[in-house]
Amino acid sequence: MFHALVAIKQVPDTTNIRIDPETGNLVREGVPAIMNPYDAHALAEAVKWKRKLGGKVTVVSMGPPSFITTIREAIELGADRGILLSDRKFAGADTLATSYVLAAAIEVIHKEEPISLLFFGKQAIDGDTAQVGPGVAVRLELPILTYATKIRAVDLENGFVTVERHTEHWVEVVETPMPTMLTCEKEIAEIPFAPLPDLIRSLRYDPEIWTMSAGPLEFDKQQVGVLGSPTIVFKMGTPPLPEPGEKFNTREVGVEKAVKLALDKAAAAGVLQAVLGGAQ
């Protein structure tokens, strides 16, 4: 049976984000929470293959109880089962501790129902680390294909998956034994408009909540949350904006004059020569 596991994270919608100029922290008040877009696209691909092959999609997330809305959104998009790993002790986790909690839970899920493919977003748009997926793969000793842009084929009979991944200069086509992990780019699938029955199911869905001990496994308290996180964020802030350059008002001096002034300025700074030299 095809069983896809998708790891999702709730993130603040960074399209409209503000940084508190005094504290350097993200202003979370009034910022809507959304499913990390890379995860949403990964989930859409997992659901697409489930619809094609039959089977099941399980989503898992680690976070506070407010993440339930994001699990419900995953059910709306076609996931069958949602698990939220949620405990106060998990708070303050870096990518090492996060990957421990996720890997431990995924191992249990895999024992219940063997997983064919693991889908992660390539990174979360709030932290931008791109470390949790690879971290989980290492802990579970799974092959990992990062920057996946397309699944060409899933061969359940022989246990192989064929995946395209974008590297800087070319597209690699890789065939790998399953189970394997993909960290996905947005191109992997369009997010569909969910059918009404899935939406209605999601509105009534209560995800399973696994805590430190109230669940099918006990987590090692030395490896979770702050205790399990060697990373210390020393300071957060926004880099200063670069000094704006001189402006020449075309209405005052005319376009031609403005261009000439700008070119002269660039030439004096030695920039123009480099650019023109490069062009010749």
Partner: protein, 439 residues
């Protein structure tokens, strides 16, 4: 074959009317689907005014204990008459307006509607967001037995559908309950800005003792360049809602750009200091169906009823609409409950909705004010001449010119008769009375 999605009742649109209907039906044990096209209730709305508590209390007597998302109680209300360079206010404060809970609260609908829908959800209604109803499912005889949404496998069945789709009444038209688009002359385009200022600053500028006091004012005169329309200004906790409504045909006829008219209003010497230094948070507009009685659709058919703005339940002069929406939703819900008891969803039972409306104030008011929207169009002097005259007259009265008073009164008299003859003025007042009293 897909599983058939069925409910006891469907409500289309989680606005004030829709959520009220869903709440009343769910509380009595019906399985209700409340379908909303927005991401959340309120997200498609751009109203910024006052919500009346008498209507909320009729649906939810203990509403104050449920922490409604109000902004400020309206403790000062009135008319502001704008001349080109002056302002005359006729406001009332205290007295009835000091009641607890207040008769009216200012509100921002993105917050209020979410709270209001949550009350329906708490009663057991299922809110289905991000889903647009596009058509009806009809039985062989034509009775409505469900709706079709824009989602795949998107049919929902129910023996009764309450249509609270708002001013854009496409579904009401689809059912043939009204045979025409609302005319531009019968719709106002209301546009406004929400301007953020510290609460203390708002209190100081509007002369309010604290954030538990608020102002609601109708602004007439220069605000709409003397054309058929009305301005408004409302204080919220930390924002001011300020804008105006102008009839659509007027905007078109005079080629007015809403943002220019609004900007002119905000730059008026009496208004600018109220909003100065504030941060613009939102700018937008919304249609208001002001055609009144003459535009009302047929209110029910087999399996469906129409409530709120979709039924043009708006009283433009009194800024009423939210209360009629809530009460019409409640009355339609009670009719649906009766239909379930009798297992008869035909017009025989649903006619009870119109009967209930006739018993209350809604249809009485709608009928009484049936001439009002035409009145504004045919009597632009109430937006132009009279506000200017009032400012002249009071300005003169309270100035010490060093002239004999008799001359002052002559000037005031002439400032009126220069604009409008006494005979015309008497006629204007009479038509105003007729329009309001419905003679």
């Amino acid at each position: 074959m897909n599983k058939h999605i069925g409910f006891d009742a469907i409500v289309v649109g989680a606005g004030l009317a829709g959520s009220a209907a869903a709440l009343v039906m769910a509380r009595e044990g019906l399985n209700v689907a409340l379908v909303e096209r927005g991401q959340k209730p309120g997200s498609k709305n751009y109203f910024g005014g006052a919500i009346y508590t008498h209507a909320i209390a009729e649906v939810l007597p203990d509403f104050m204990e449920r922490k409604p998302k109000f902004e400020r109680p309206v403790t000062e209300a009135g008319f502001w008459f704008l001349a080109e360079d002056g302002l005359t206010k006729m406001v009332t404060q205290g007295g009835k307006l000091n009641a607890e809970p207040a008769d009216a609260y200012t509100a921002l609908r993105a917050d209020f509607d979410l709270w209001w829908a949550a009350q329906a959800q708490a009663a057991g209604a299922l809110l289905i967001p991000k889903t647009t109803v596009v058509d009806f499912i009809r039985a062989a005889g034509g009775a409505v037995v469900g709706v079709m949404t824009d989602r795949p496998e998107g049919e929902i069945y129910a023996p009764v559908v309450i249509i609270s789709e708002g001013v854009n009444n496409l579904l009401t038209q689809k059912l043939g309950l009204i045979d025409h688009d609302l005319e531009p002359a019968h719709q106002a385009l209301a546009f406004k800005q929400v301007i953020s200022l510290p609460a203390k600053e708002i209190n100081a500028r509007f002369g309010l003792p604290d954030a538990n006091h608020g102002v609601a004012a109708s602004v007439l005169g220069d605000v709409s360049l003397g054309l058929p329309g009305m301005g408004f200004i409302y204080t919220n906790k930390k924002t001011i809602s300020v804008g105006l409504g102008v009839m659509l045909d007027t905007l078109a006829e005079y080629q007015l750009r809403p943002y220019e008219v609004l900007q002119r209003y905000l730059e008026h010497p009496a208004i600018a200091p109220l909003v100065a230094g504030g941060q613009l948070l939102e700018y937008g507009g919304h249609l208001i169906p002001e055609g009144g009685w003459h535009d009302m659709p047929q209110l029910y058919t087999d399996g469906a009823m129409v409530v709120g703005d979709a039924a043009t339940m708006v009283n433009a002069l009194h800024w009423e609409g939210t209360n009629m929406a809530i009460i019409s939703g409640k009355l339609a819900a009670e009719t649906a409950l009766e239909a379930h008891q009798q297992s008869d969803f035909s017009v025989r039972t649903l006619a009870g909705y119109e009967a209930r409306l006739k018993e209350g104030f809604i249809l009485k008011d709608m009928k009484q004010y049936r001439r009002f929207s035409r009145f504004l169009e045919t009597h632009p002097e109430f937006m132009g001449t009279y506000p200017a005259f009032l400012n002249d007259a009071l300005g003169g009265f309270f100035s010490a010119y060093g002239k004999p008073k008799r001359q002052l009164f002559t000037e005031i008299y002439q400032s009126l008769t220069g604009r409008r003859s006494l005979f015309q003025a008497a006629g204007d007042m009479l038509s105003m009375g007729r329009a309001v009293l419905g003679w």
